[in-house]
Amino acid sequence: MNSTIVSYLSQFDGHKKFIAFLSEVLGFDATALIAFLVFLIASIVVVKVMALVGGMGTYAERKISADIQMRQGPNRVGPFGLLQFLADGVKMIMKEDVLPKNADKLLFTIAPLMALVGVFGSLAVVPFSSGFILTDLNVGVFYLIGVSSLVGVAIFLGGYSSNSKWSMLGGMRGASQIISYEVPVTLSILAIVILAGGLSFSTLVNAQGGLPHQWYVLHNPFTFIGFFVFFIGALAETNRAPFDLPEAESELVSGYHTEYTGMRFGFFALAEYIEVFVVCGVAVAAFLGGYKVPFDLGTGDFLVNTLHLPPIIGKNIGQFLQIGSFVTKTLLLYYVVIWIRWTFPRLRVDHLMTLCWKYLTPIALFNLVGCAVWLYAFDGHSIWELFSQMTAGSHGGGH
């Protein structure tokens, strides 16, 4: 059944004792209250970290682009310009909030809200570790696809409500691009779901191992192609270059947020950066082994057995190793995303649609069929297991 961060905590004695103590003091069953508090604290932690990731994302974007273009990048605020994003945030709040005269005021206000709600909603199922996953829904991946499509609606409404021609063009382009690229992304995830046999993120991750040859990306040739299809589709879904047509500076001024100023623009930008993190996290969880640590260090059994640590400490150290593994892989992908942005030129809009419908979607369908047939033909063994069986078999035959 669904496991959450609360069900992870409730296996420790201290948690139970605390609940019993609190129930005695308050005079009613405190389990629900504690669950709420744990969820609230964990959610706030996740949101704070994600806001930091979003803020540092803008900083990293500038530093890496500066590095690629042999410039200095931001270096005034704080050491190495690290506090630049705080300065940007203060600037955003201080900026005047301009509401265009002919704008649709209701939609203009709720569009950034919808983008942020969609992205925050998708954070709930990102698997940081086997214990620290806010909620491991049975329909995790599917839910994430659904709730993150709110961002597409938000971009369309943002473009529509400004009543500016640039915004409208950007919004239409953005919505059609996001929905188009959702098709190859969904089909690639479907291929992984077939192999893993479940929709929840823990199923996806637990079907993989810690070492690269146990990851789904190297499971068989179809998933290898599928990873790149997913990654390209995810780039396009988050409006990152080379697919940033909805906000193409050279043709559409600033796309769907041309008329947005100050904090409202800031929310769109924050939503975009967090969404990049989320899709990188999904790519890591589905294809790159997720939170798995090599040699099963993540479960903590190794530490308990060799170093004779108490089980509770071993387990928690294992959790931190898992979080480290997940975050490291995700940030590496994040770096690749930024790297791609500053390396490739932007696509033309007809090339964009051709790429999606005539290349990625047929390839993704082919991968889906291939994975289904692979599972049926080889009982879900990866290509490495087949190789090792073959070599073992030939040795056996030789003797």
Binding site: L113, G121, A124, L134, S176, L187, G197
Partner: protein, 146 residues
């Protein structure tokens, strides 16, 4: 366990509430400290310094609709395929994978027929009307020469 345990949806509600509170709170806090002196020029939509003509809410090309149409069909087929994909492994383990593979492949085949039709009819081309045939180009050249 009698009724479904709904606590798993709690983080989603909390996170969405945090999103709403963040937006509303930042806008309200910002209201206290940011300047507010609008004028007619500032409030007009940005059109590179030109006077805006007419409303932006006008008709768009129908190809946007065709794209979203193909998308929604794929979306729904994905929604139907997800539970089947999720049980494929279980069926395969008890030796019934062949039946499931057959029905899944049939389903995908019908889906592929749809996209092949749209491909042949040119619904997937973004700039259909601008691609001239060789004959039309020849005609154009003739016009130029004469």
């Amino acid at each position: 366990m009698s009724s479904p345990n709904l606590d798993v949806y709690m983080p989603i509600i909390i996170l969405m509430a945090i999103g709403v509170i963040a937006v509303v709170g930042a806008l309200l806090v910002g209201k206290l400290i940011r300047p507010h002196n609008p004028n007619a020029l500032k409030e007009s939509p940005y059109e590179c310094g030109e006077e805006p003509i007419g409303s932006a809410w006008s008709n768009f090309n129908v190809r946007f609709y065709v794209v979203s149409l193909i998308f929604i069909i794929f979306d729904v087929e994905g929604a139907l395929m997800f539970p089947v994909a999720a049980v494929f492994r279980r069926f395969n383990e008890i030796g019934e994978g062949g039946v499931l593979l057959g029905s899944l492949l049939l389903f995908i085949l019908v889906l592929v027929l749809g996209i092949v039709y749209c491909w042949k009819k040119g619904d997937l081309d973004w700039v259909k009307s601008f691609q001239l045939s060789d004959e039309q180009i020849k005609q154009l050249n003739n016009v130029k020469e004469s």
